[in-house]
């Protein structure tokens, strides 16, 4: 009986995930503007004051929004149909590696945050943000 329940559960899980994919239920999360990114950060932290010099990804899949006080960079990055938010301060960043295609691989000192590949569309912009983010290494 126990064996049947376990095998049945695995089959049911597989079927449900396949159905989820087949039905096309999720849409990738996208930000429409930097203002939307700032508003989300503000609602999340209750009082995040966005400063100048933020950046919205060309495809709307992430945004980097420095705080007014210059101490923190608000990061929103899409994971599937949702955004994950982090407030990056000193010690938050493990590494930020820009590449020649305008991408950046961001790793945080955060057990619950898988490395994120951010596409800036320009190698110079990616390198410039990599430098800013690497300044936040612990």
């Amino acid at each position: 009986m126990l064996f049947i329940v376990l095998i049945g559960s695995v089959l049911a899980i597989t079927a449900m995930v396949m159905l989820n994919v087949w039905l096309g239920l999720s849409e990738p999360a996208r930000l429409a503007s930097l203002e939307e990114a700032a508003a989300r950060l503000d609602a999340d932290a209750v009082g995040y004051e966005a400063g100048e010099g933020g950046l919205l990804a060309p495809d709307g899949r992430f945004a980097l929004v420095p705080a007014q006080d210059g101490q923190t960079i608000g990061l929103l990055v899409a994971r599937g149909s949702d955004f994950v938010i982090r407030y990056l301060g000193t010690g938050s960043v493990r590494s930020a590696e820009a590449d020649a295609q305008g991408g950046l691989l961001l790793r945080l000192n955060d057990f619950g945050f898988a490395p994120a590949r951010l596409s800036f569309g320009s190698a110079e912009t990616a390198q410039s943000w990599a430098d800013r983010l690497n300044a936040l290494k612990g």
């Binding site: 449900m16 989820n20 209750v46 949702d82 057990f111 994120a116």
Partner: protein, 313 residues
């Protein structure tokens, strides 16, 4: 004392597996047809993997827990037996104990490390109901809250049975597909609307509606918050996970506690990292639910020049 045969041969959760699958599939089809529910394949896969792991975990720990509960039952205060009224009483009292256990799970970080798994999806659908922890015995709550009714005199099999019924009840309330139930039902029972509030991270909704089956416990103990029309639920946890890895979902808060305690500057700080509410820190650099609510209320008041949206005390 003879245990009724159906208690020994029938586990409602096993039967529930079939019911759960049918309802999840129905909700997915409903989402496709109406857009009235949200799904993400990776999120669903993670939730279902957590549910499967929870099942395996229960099987692995069940022998040890059974020995403990039999030991407690041998030292019971009363012989309550299996009369019909005992079943009803056990169901209600089990839900009462569930309320307090659940409340502690949100207000003591040690217990939150286990329960956070269930809240770690940004989606609110029937797969979220199955996103359950793998390491529940590490909270040691089975030693006291889990044993209270057995020590009183309820048979362990009866408590296990009504506990399963309680969990099955809670499955269907994890949905956005049902907006409101009839008023009398909303007044007494836990419903999708009440439980959406519980899963939301909007400051006004944090740490509210701990009920399992009967919402009256929240009304009695001051933790009830109705769903507000002008405050759409944002689901998940205050610091949402950026991963679908089941191992990380399972361990992230435990890891956070160990890391914080390792770097604590005093024994007191180390103890509070374990026992204080989630979000506590010695320097105030993080925020607890109460602190987030206070900030939100202050801002509502200053922005509108009016009292904040109605929030429960």
């Amino acid at each position: 004392m003879d245990v009724p045969a159906f208690v020994e041969t029938f586990d409602p959760v096993y039967a529930g597996v079939i019911l759960f699958t049918v309802l999840v599939v129905s909700e997915m089809v409903y989402a496709r047809m109406t857009g009235g529910a949200r799904f993400e394949a990776a999120d669903s896969a993670a939730s279902l993997a957590m549910g499967f792991g929870n099942l395996v975990s229960k099987l692995l720990f069940s022998g040890f827990l059974a020995v403990w509960f039999v030991f407690v039952y041998e030292h019971r205060f009363f012989d309550i037996g299996f009369a019909w009224w005992a079943w009803i009483l056990a169901f209600v009292l089990d839900d009462f104990v569930y309320y307090w256990s659940h409340r502690f799970a949100h207000t003591v970080r040690w217990f939150w490390a286990d329960h956070v798994v269930h809240h770690s999806s940004q989606h609110y659908n029937l797969t979220t109901a199955l996103r359950q922890p793998w390491l529940n015995p590490l909270t040691l709550k089975f030693l006291w809250l889990g044993s209270a009714l057995i020590l009183l005199g309820f048979h362990p099999a009866m408590i296990a049975f009504v506990g399963s019924l309680n969990l099955i009840y809670q499955f269907w309330i994890h949905t956005e597909a049902i907006k409101k139930c009839p008023a009398w039902f909303e007044a007494v029972m836990n419903t999708p609307s009440h439980h959406r509030v519980h899963h939301a991270t909007n400051p006004v909704y944090l740490d509210r509606n701990y009920a399992g089956v009967f919402i009256v416990w929240d009304k009695m103990f001051g933790t009830f918050q109705p769903e507000l029309e002008n405050e759409k639920c944002r689901y998940g946890i205050v610091k949402n996970l950026g991963t679908y890895n089941p191992l990380k979902i399972s361990l992230h808060e435990w890891w956070g506690i160990i890391d914080d305690m390792r770097h604590a500057r005093s024994l007191r700080d180390a103890a509070l990292y374990l026992l204080a509410p989630p979000g506590w820190s010695p320097d105030g650099s993080r925020a607890t639910s109460k602190q987030l609510l206070a900030k939100w209320q202050a801002r509502q008041t200053s922005q509108a020049g009016q009292p904040p949206a109605e929030a429960a005390e």
